[in-house]
């Protein structure tokens, strides 16, 4: 291997390690928000609690969209590793569409709460809810923008080793958001509905 090729390989390994570490820091952000939510969930200020507000079937649909998008993202990663450009782009497009679908449902849910007068200014519980779930939604939005830029890059440059590396980081990010959502689904919605 030439020193240049070794240099590129080393950079790729660095990027992957660094991205894992970044995800760890993001976990700490979510951990702070989760801790705050758990502490403040009973601070409803005389207003409605999660049990009265959440619609579990609706949240189930959101969960389904996000899980499937994670699956298509995984398939797209396989495709780009095999150098199948068209297949990669189609699957990445599906992932983006599902992500937009998830985000739309979330915004619809937020909008409904807002219009019913249950916005974030009414209680500590609602502040913590909107912030925790909204922070996840913001990450999804960033993921979607990233995926679009990535799709543009792949369509121009093809399935080069650089593209595979960049895609692998996006895939890590997207699966990570899936994982965070599982915790939100459990801690915020499921536990909220039964308590």
């Amino acid at each position: 291997m030439t020193s240049h090729a070794a240099h590129i390989k080393e950079k790729a390994a660095n990027a992957t390690l660094g991205f894992w570490l970044y995800l760890m820091t993001d976990i700490m952000i979510f951990a702070s928000l989760f801790a705050t939510f758990v502490i403040l969930r009973d601070g409803t200020n005389g207003g409605p609690s999660g049990q009265e507000l959440f619609n579990l079937e609706f949240v189930m649909a959101e969960t389904f969209l996000l899980l499937v998008s994670s699956f298509t993202c995984g398939l797209a990663y396989l495709a780009i590793k095999h150098g199948q450009k068209r297949r990669t782009l189609v699957l990445l497009g599906t992932t983006i569409t599902l992500g937009i679908g998830f985000l739309s449902l979330e915004l619809y849910e937020f909008g409904e709460l807002y219009l019913a007068g249950h916005d974030w200014t009414h209680s500590a519980f609602l502040s913590a809810f909107f912030t925790l779930v909204g922070t996840h939604g913001l990450h999804i939005l960033i993921g979607i923008i990233w995926a679009i830029a990535l799709g543009d890059y792949i369509s121009k440059r093809g399935t080069t080793p650089d593209a595979v590396r960049k895609f692998s980081l996006f895939a890590l990010f997207w699966h990570f958001l899936d994982l965070v959502w599982i915790f939100i689904f459990t801690v915020v919605y499921l536990l909220g509905a039964i308590s």
């Binding site: 570490l21 502490i39 912030t131 890059y153």
Partner: protein
């Protein structure tokens, strides 16, 4: 016509009112203007832009960090002088400030000293020394490094501009709500504080990732983890703490900002909010933060003591174990900052005991340094004098910390001058002395000439004497019940102690002046003080194997490491002259202006939120996204230096 959509809540009401602030608010922009005019007059814009602003060279970024840190030290120090002048003179009937201004001054002092002096100097020294100690050409992500620095810079600009427009926060350096909530603090001061810390804090977070990967992936071949210089170990542990702690700060400040901007109820006293949640969260960041600052200082002392005692460091493995022990313990002690919260005896006992346990690994380190000196042939240079001052002062601070770890005693001294004396004791005696030792130690590697040793020692003595005068009286006052953060005390018998303390701060200021004078004098006499060998201290580690000032590529030939004190062992074995065939092509990062652009946009997001100029925040946010995408998908970021050129450059540098 209503212009509020364009200018938010900007209005002339926020211009400074009292004479002290007006003076500063006029003086600061004038000083900046003078600098800008000077740069234009000497036609240095191209040089500054190409060599400094857009540089991705860690050493230059380090120098910029240090420059800002020293500048901010002068600012924070002036605040300290004002505070102690007030408490010394107030009983004589000389009232320097009203209460509001006094509160702003102590908030500014604390915030600036921690976030822009200590953090800045820490990242500065790491940038300068770490790649050289590891035998590598650069950090893992040179561009991210530039982004980190410029975010730090943007935060610095924001926190200082509050002086001119809007006033400083009066909420203390940690901004406890509900005082910093909208209800009690509707003005922009707290928002300045939040966004300055938020922006520079994200920079620190990115640096944490950057240096961790640098240490784990960028060591010279042969340098196993247990062959790293102890400074690298201390940085590794500190950066892991950065990665775990700073996200908590980001989230906490974010929630406080949402309380203020969106009318949320996280930390308000009404609406179901819980201010104690903020205090728990901020200390879950804040306690690791003090270890983030002190551990690299410990690392510097480890290098300094081994070098100037001419002995290998005693107890390397226990040093590493102690660092890792402190890393874990630092996350289970935060509640000792508020034993008085009412968490109950068992919780307080747990945190109290955990806090006392930290004294053990810290004590191990101190004994290791002392045993390193034992039977060494010690040279008492300026860095070593800083170490001696540290060893005494920090021990006293540590002991007073163990005292306060006893909840029963803490109830007596909580929030008094005793606490103020304690944390200045460990931060000045530990962090500050450590970084100063680092400045004197690594200065020749950066600039190619040593700092005048005599003036350096004099400065150290002045700091030490000033420290004792300034803070030992505060211990006594605290024990007698002097609550901190007050501009006026009723008991006239306390006045002599406050006067002594005020004199002490003056002596510290003299010490700082001596440092600056020493630097200026050394620049003037740089020919006589020139370091021609690259190894002025007869050093032990790899940074002394390259010429001074260190060339932009650090190492012409990637070193192969087989010893902990690699350079020392090589010198003992006899140095070999490299031949042409030892040189290989190397790749270095190209300069990039995007780091500055990202930071400017991030700063504008902050300004938008501070003044409620929403369009500005949105436009700036979009700009950040665009810049990041542009950089992420840019594959042409490096250039090559051929082996031939490198051979020639290296020959010149060593001539």
């Amino acid at each position: 016509m209503d212009w509020s959509w364009l200018t938010g809540r900007l209005s002339a009401d926020y211009l400074p009112q009292d004479p002290v602030t007006i003076g500063a608010a006029v003086g600061m922009p004038l000083a900046i203007l003078a600098v800008l005019v000077a740069i234009t007059y000497f036609k240095k814009w191209g040089y500054i832009w190409n060599e400094w602003v857009t540089t991705l060279d860690a050493k230059k970024i380090g120098i910029m960090y240090m420059g800002i840190a020293l500048l901010m030290l002068a600012r924070g120090g002036a605040d300290a002088l004002m505070l102690r002048a007030q408490t010394a003179l107030e009983p004589l009937g000389i009232e320097l400030f009203d209460t509001q201004t006094f509160q702003e001054v102590f908030t500014a002092h604390g915030s600036i000293m921690i976030f822009f002096v200590a953090m800045g100097a820490m990242f500065g020294l790491i940038n300068i020394a770490l790649p050289l100690l590891l035998g590598t050409r650069d950090v893992a992500y040179p561009f991210l490094n530039s982004v980190s620095f410029w975010l730090f810079f943007a935060g610095m600009v924001i926190i200082n501009s509050s002086l001119v427009f809007g006033g400083f926060s009066n909420g203390g350096w940690l901004g406890y709500p509900p005082l910093t909530g909208l209800e009690y603090n509707p003005g922009p001061g707290v928002d300045y504080w939040i966004w300055a810390l938020q922006i520079s804090g994200i920079g620190s977070l990115l640096s944490g990732i950057n240096f961790t990967v640098t240490i784990l992936k960028h060591r010279a071949p042969g340098m196993t983890l247990m062959k790293m210089p102890i400074f690298a170990w201390s940085v590794l542990v500190a950066m892991v703490l950065v990665m775990l702690a700073f996200p908590v700060l980001t989230a906490t400040l974010g929630m406080l900002a949402l309380d203020r901007v969106a009318g949320m109820h996280f930390f308000t006293s009404d609406g179901g909010g819980n201010p104690m949640m903020y205090i728990n969260l901020i200390w879950a960041w804040g306690h690791p933060e003090v270890y983030i600052l002190i551990l690299p200082a410990f690392g510097i002392f480890s290098e300094v003591v081994a070098t100037f005692a001419r002995k290998r460091l005693f107890g390397y493995a226990t040093m590493v174990a102690a660092l890792i022990g402190i890393m874990f313990l630092s996350f289970v002690v935060w509640q000792h900052h508020f034993f008085t919260m009412g968490a109950g005896a068992n919780v307080n006992a747990f945190f109290g005991i955990m806090t006392m346990i930290i004294a053990i690994p810290t004590g191990v380190k101190l004994f290791n340094w002392i045993f390193t000196m034992y039977k060494g042939s010690i040279r008492f240079t300026a860095p070593m004098i800083w170490f001696m001052c540290f060893a005494v002062t920090f021990t006293i601070g540590g002991v007073s910390g163990v005292l306060m770890a006893v909840p029963a005693l803490d109830f007596q001294v909580h929030n008094t001058m005793f606490l103020v004396a304690h944390f200045h004791n460990v931060i000045i005696g530990g962090v500050v002395f450590g970084y100063f030792a680092g400045i004197y130690y690594w200065w020749p590697k950066v600039f190619g000439f040593t700092l005048h040793d005599g003036i350096g020692k004099l400065a150290a003595y002045a700091w030490q004497v000033g420290f004792v005068l300034a803070f030992i009286p505060l211990y006594i006052l605290g024990l007698m019940g002097a609550v901190r953060r007050l501009d006026s005390y009723d008991d006239p018998t306390w006045q002599p102690l406050f006067i002594v303390s005020g004199i002490g701060v003056g002596v510290i200021a003299l010490g700082f002046a001596l440092m600056v004078i020493g630097m200026a004098y050394s620049v003037w006499k740089r020919k006589e003080l020139a370091d021609t060998t690259g190894d002025p201290w007869d050093g032990r580690t790899l940074e002394w194997s390259v010429p001074s000032p260190a060339p932009f590529y650090n190492f012409a030939i990637t070193p192969r490491v087989s010893h902990r004190d690699e350079w020392w062992e090589r010198k003992k074995a006899g140095l070999k002259v490299p031949t042409r065939s030892d040189y290989k092509d190397i790749e270095l990062p190209k300069n990039s202006a995007l780091g500055v652009y990202i930071a400017v946009a991030a700063g504008l997001i902050g300004i938008g939120f501070i003044w409620h100029i929403w369009w500005l925040a949105i436009v700036a946010l979009i700009a950040v996204v665009v810049f990041v995408i542009k950089r992420t998908f840019d594959d042409d970021t490096e250039y090559t230096i051929s082996a031939d050129t490198l051979y020639k450059l290296d020959k010149e540098a060593r001539a």
